[in-house]
């Protein structure tokens, strides 16, 4: 009681700072305004819009989506691309990172790997069209050496989109895995070795359990990227066939049929699918140890 009584005599500025508000707090205002203006408001507007379809019913858009295979199959098609791609990226990133973390010149390698991320999907897609196309170097080389008689079909189908997602997604996955892996105290492995654990046991009992939380986050980030694939699905895929991903459906609804309400509904469905998968992965993560990966006081 006496404390609160005394606080009333303090100037407002001091009382505010005691509660954690001071001048520095103002620095987050622009971010909050941006968030509200460009994310929170549009999101709720989209949500509202999705329940106001052209036919006037509340769930009309969702009924349309889930009764038309051309629309609802985009979910499975997108998942069929994004989940295998993410898993493949992680499955290749982990062993490579295991080796790379012991290297001294990591910098050069990480620079090379960051390049595809900075170049952007479109440039990568253009490059792949030229290189892997029927008249591209890749097929011509194989034909020249007589390994194949007709060009392999590597673009304008599932394979094309898959490969481009690997090329753009792998560096990102790898760098994340590498940073998680280097965060694990190397003496833990040494300790395990002196206790009789061979390389496989060391990975299974020490590295992997400590890496799982990081892998879960990596999976989520990689999956979100792959799930919202659009440019490479259009440029390198078969946008009306096997790579008709959910973003294409939303795009067509909005800009070909001018049905913003349906497009919003598709966006909402996309969000729900993303959240469901991420939620499941993060829930699974909580079954594992999540504390610091050090071996004791440094």
């Amino acid at each position: 009681m006496s404390d609160t009584a005394r606080n009333h005599h303090l100037p407002l500025k001091m009382r505010l700072s005691a509660a954690g508000f001071d001048g520095v707090t103002l620095l987050v205002l622009p971010a909050i305004l941006l968030l509200v203006g460009f994310f929170v408001y549009p999101f709720f507007y989209g949500l509202w819009l999705s329940f106001h379809p052209k036919d006037g019913s509340v769930f009309g858009n969702y009924k349309t989506f889930f009764s038309d295979p051309f629309l609802y199959e985009t979910i499975s098609k997108t998942l069929w691309l994004s989940i295998p791609v993410t898993i493949l990226n992680m499955a290749t990133a982990v062993p490579i990172a295991l080796r790379v973390r012991l290297m001294k010149n990591q910098r050069l390698l990480t620079t090379i790997l960051v390049l595809p991320i900075t170049l952007g999907t479109v440039l990568v897609a253009e490059g792949m069209l030229n290189y892997l196309g029927p008249q591209g170097w890749f097929n011509r080389t194989l034909i020249t050496f007589g390994l194949i008689s007709a060009p392999l079909k590597l673009v304008h189908n599932y394979t094309g989109v898959f490969l481009s997602l690997v090329i753009t997604g792998f560096p990102f996955t790898f760098l994340l895995v590498l940073s998680y892996l280097t965060g694990i105290d190397p003496t833990l492995e040494k300790a395990a070795a002196t206790l009789g654990a061979g390389p496989i046991s060391r990975f299974r009992h020490i590295l992997l359990p400590l890496l799982v939380p990081g892998l879960a986050v990596t999976f989520c980030l990689g999956f979100v990227q792959a799930f919202s694939v659009f440019p490479s699905a259009v440029l390198l895929g078969a946008p009306s066939g096997p790579t008709r991903v959910i973003t294409i459906a939303a795009y067509e609804a909005a800009f070909e049929q001018y049905d913003y309400s349906l497009a919003s509904a598709i966006a909402m469905i996309m969000g729900v699918v993303l959240l469901a998968i991420i939620g499941a992965v993060l829930a699974a993560r909580s079954l594992f140890y999540r504390g610091p990966a050090g071996g004791g006081k440094g």
């Binding site: 300790a191 004791g296 006081k297």
Partner: protein, 354 residues
């Protein structure tokens, strides 16, 4: 594999060397340790003591030489095949496993039956007095408790050799003293070899049966704590064993193992160590043994501090050399004093010796 090492007699290092690129971290290390001995590897940082320990553990491959456990050559085996227990400086406990699982890890890797392993884990935990913490995670324990877990984890596999890499350096002073006793007690109960790396001569002397003093990748002296304390062979060993005063001097006359020396006009008697060929010498004296006297080296007191039983001070001696001395009573700044030591406590080394 490790089972065959149970009844071993000795560990022997035969001209073991290790290079990092062009840098000789370890030149040619030769020594052997008998079963039951507690040996400390002592030296300043960068002297190669940890490198030597890691080579013995198998965590670093050797560049030259061989390591033997009786007649078995072990430097060709991987760390997981040697079956040595190792205690790391930062404890290296597996953060995602309970204390019980940490301690049981080595037994699990060896395929020891669950019931038997459980019993041995309990007894190891009892040895380090942590039975009631068995179900916690390492992060929930204090530093001293974590280090005891690390020790339990290393000894539960009943290794022929327990390697400790500065295990107490992260603990506070009081805990360090307690843990010394604990480690000594555990060693006595095991009957195997303990090889203990430290840069703290106090720790080495209080723990070890024998001390291996290393410097710049070489073994400089091997001996009991008394040997090293009283009779350091080289000036650098003396330096490391607490002979803080190193006074350049000239040898005047010699008789037997003794010599009289001249330090800028003042004369002292000392005992010759190693080969003292020329006239140029260095006299090494512990601060403990250099006291205020009626005759001796002229010096001006620069500092004096109280350390329990005595005062310890520093003074500027002949030729500007800094002298550290002991005094039963406080000596004021700027006082001119004479400092002297018993001849047996003044060790004379060749001036060229480093």
């Amino acid at each position: 594999m490790s089972a065959t090492f149970q009844s071993f007699k000795s560990l022997r290092l035969d001209r073991v060397g290790r290079d990092f690129g062009r840098h000789n971290a370890l030149k040619e290390i030769d020594f052997s340790i008998e079963r039951g001995e507690f040996v400390a590897l002592l030296g300043p940082s960068g002297c190669g003591k940890s490198t030597a320990l890691n080579c013995i553990a198998g965590l670093l491959p050797t560049t030259r030489g061989s390591i033997w456990l009786d007649e078995t050559r072990i430097d060709v085996l991987g760390p997981e095949e040697r079956g040595f227990g190792m205690v790391f400086q930062n404890y290296a406990l597996f953060p995602h496993m309970t204390i019980r699982d940490n301690v049981g890890f080595g037994l699990r890797m060896r395929g020891v039956a669950r019931a038997e392993a459980g019993k041995r884990v309990e007894s190891a935990l009892a040895t380090v007095r942590l039975t009631d913490q068995a179900d916690k995670l390492p992060g929930q324990l204090s530093g001293g408790q974590q280090q005891r877990v690390a020790i339990a984890r290393a000894i539960v596999i009943e290794p022929p050799l327990v390697l400790m890499d500065e295990p107490l350096s992260n603990l506070d002073a009081k805990l360090r003293l307690e843990m010394r006793q604990e480690i000594r007690r555990i060693h006595a109960g095991l009957g195997s070899i303990t090889l203990y790396v430290t840069h703290d001569q106090d720790e080495a002397m209080s723990l070890a049966d024998r001390i291996v003093v290393m410097r710049a990748g070489e073994v400089r002296q091997i001996g009991t704590p008394e040997d090293l304390y009283e009779r350091p062979l080289h000036l650098d060993v003396a330096d490391f064993m607490g002979y803080r005063n190193r006074i350049p001097c000239r040898v005047l006359t010699r008789s037997g193992g003794m010599a009289s020396i001249d330090v800028a006009g003042a004369q002292l008697e000392g005992s010759i160590r190693g080969t003292l060929v020329g006239d140029e010498a260095v006299a090494a004296i512990r601060p403990d043994d250099l006291c205020v006297a009626d005759v001796g080296l002229d010096a001006v007191v620069e500092a004096c501090e109280y350390r329990g039983h005595n005062f310890f001070g520093s003074a500027r001696g002949p030729g500007g050399v800094e002298l550290f001395f002991r005094s039963p009573k406080r000596v004021d700044f700027g006082t001119a004093v004479k400092l002297a030591a018993e001849p047996a406590k003044v060790l004379l080394y060749d001036g060229a010796a480093t």
